[in-house]
Amino acid sequence: MKLEEFTSRFNKLPGAMPIWHGIVDVAQFRSLCEQVKHDGGKLVALWGSDESASGAGYALHVALVTAAGMLCLTLPVSAERPAYPDISDLFPGAGRMQRAVVDLLGLHATGADDQRKWLRHGSWPGNAHPLRKNFDGNSVSKTETDAYPFITVSGDGVHEIPVGPVHAGTIEPGHFRFSIIGDRVLRLEERLGYKHKGIEKRFESMTLEQGAKLAGRISGDSTVAYAWAYAQAVESVTATAPPPRALALRAVLLELERIHNHLGDLGYLGNDVALSFGFSQFWILKEDVLRLNGELFGHRYLMDRVVPGGVACDLDHRDIERMLQLFDHLEQEIRILKDIYDEHAGAQDRFLTTGRVTPDLAAQLGLTGLPGRASGQAWDMRAQFPCTPYDQLEVRMATHRNGDVAARVIVRFEEVMESLRLIRLILAELPAGALRATVTAAPEHALGIGWVEGWRGEILVALHTGKNNGIHRLHPHDPSWQNWPVLEHAIIGNIVPDFPLINKSFNLSYCGVDL
């Protein structure tokens, strides 16, 4: 099948985003993936599902994106031979996703180089698969020894530094294995999965209504993005159209989330280069935003404000005035701080050329989201596939080509300023009307996909509905899946003390990928 035929041969999913879904055979699956790669498209997510209840064995799903929008492919997989063709040769980021599908569902990618386990450590045996329907999620197996074979580097003077899972600061847990000579990093290997707490299995015991709260807690720093993506997925399967005012307010919330996260990162990036002044200043501004959130929306991080059908918050004239007032102050302060960062020789010396991912490497490895834009990967759904209200705002995408820490700092500065501009535009023409549409019960066996540009990058929520408005399978996907492996490349040749800085400049999610 030619890629161009896909949109005419298969159905567009109802809802806000340009997403087509089709069931394909093995040859079409592989061929379409190859064509997407060839045309400069990318892989957004890969997940599996257990379809044995309907006598169909299993299914493997991939979400690909091209210039036209998203193509979601479903490949039926037989119960007797639970395997599908490897695509990690086309999309290197698929490697860990495929390994997670083995751990959780027992479907194998035929021909994949790396057959090691990924999310499974020692909490359940290798022959048990938590996302199979015959697996009891509340069962507790005996803990096994987690014998994970790291790749070792040998040679004169090479030694290893193991770091984690418990890190030195207030950070999520994960393990980093550095192979170094002197201070220089030859190789970094990440081991994640420490935070795996069975979120996907938990979803399967929930109704669509209950799932909204859990979706907002997949990665607490991206609660708005996940909640919106979840709401989009529910609205797609129930053919719900949220009122215009709700959509506008969702965008305000999403941009506030981007602002407070970027401000926090800009502070920490200063801190990591011994400019603690930057930390103090940016974290005052971040706290100002969080307090505004608390005051106007009732939650500092805006959890549970985006709900299926609309929003659970509102703004009146005084609130808007209050927000605009803070924005004037923020803008003025950020400009001063940007000048100070730009002119600070010590900070720039640490930022420039550090942790560089060239645009070529970024394209090859599929670097996405904010770090992708800092390495010339011009993808920002708010600009390319704008849903309401972004379709009326002409979002200016921030991109740079240097791909170093300095570029990721600049992109953050530009995106904060753009978010301030977008919120002002939205508030200037905030539509009147209802805040929430009624969400009817969803049909069984429906697929809905939500797709939102969060501050890290694109957040996807794939929802397969079950009986009685329940969830048959839900896969939330964080852009950190794609970006963690690229961090291993970004550190090569840098010195060990620059790792915290490089890591912070990516600021990837652990819980978002450990699930």
Binding site: N138, T170, K197, G264, Y301
Partner: protein, 182 residues
């Protein structure tokens, strides 16, 4: 340099008065060792461990270090090693993959040691635990923190605000009014 100094002077002092300890957050049955607490006073070293949270509680723990809450101004410091710590501040639920790491961190601390459980999930297992599993356990999670290590103070919230965190941390290190009377 001139610009930095000018900005610092313009910003002024943002630090607010800290809240009072909230003794209600103490866990019944976990009696603090009062005499030892008198020695620690408020010069407290905290080691944080994320045992499986959604990273929401971490955001508020970070906020404690901002100029408004200025936790270091109270003599309370986050340290890099459990060997240097008086208090373990744990967010959860405890994933089974973090169970060993959490126990080892706790074991590495010198005694006396305090444990503060942070957030609804740390206190009860929260939304990640099924209603059919009262302790909050499942195939991947040990549930609440007290299922894995003893807890002195539990601070609920999703996430708890920096003020609530301070109230809980201060409750753990201040001798309760009740015991002062005895």
């Amino acid at each position: 340099m001139y610009q930095i100094i000018r900005q610092i002077l313009k910003t002024g002092i943002k630090t607010e008065t800290p809240p009072q300890p909230d003794h209600a957050l103490r866990v019944d049955g976990q009696q603090l060792q009062e005499k030892i607490l008198r020695h620690i006073g408020r010069a407290l070293a905290i080691r944080h461990v994320d045992a499986g949270s959604c990273n929401g509680c971490e955001l508020e723990i970070h906020a404690l270090n901002n100029a408004y809450y200025n936790i270091e101004g109270l003599g309370i410091k986050f340290v890099a090693s459990p060997r240097h710590a008086d208090m373990l501040l744990v967010t959860g639920p405890v994933s089974r993959h973090m169970e060993t790491a959490l126990k080892r961190t706790y074991d590495a601390m010198p005694e006396p040691r305090l444990v503060v459980a942070v957030g609804d999930c740390g206190c009860t297992g929260g939304i990640f635990s099924s209603a059919n599993s009262p302790g909050g356990e499942n195939y991947a999670s040990c549930g609440k923190i007290s299922n894995v290590i003893p807890v002195d103070v539990a601070i609920p919230g999703c996430p708890p605000t920096p003020v609530a965190l301070l109230q809980g941390i201060l409750a753990a290190v201040s001798v309760s009014t009740k015991s002062e009377n005895t």
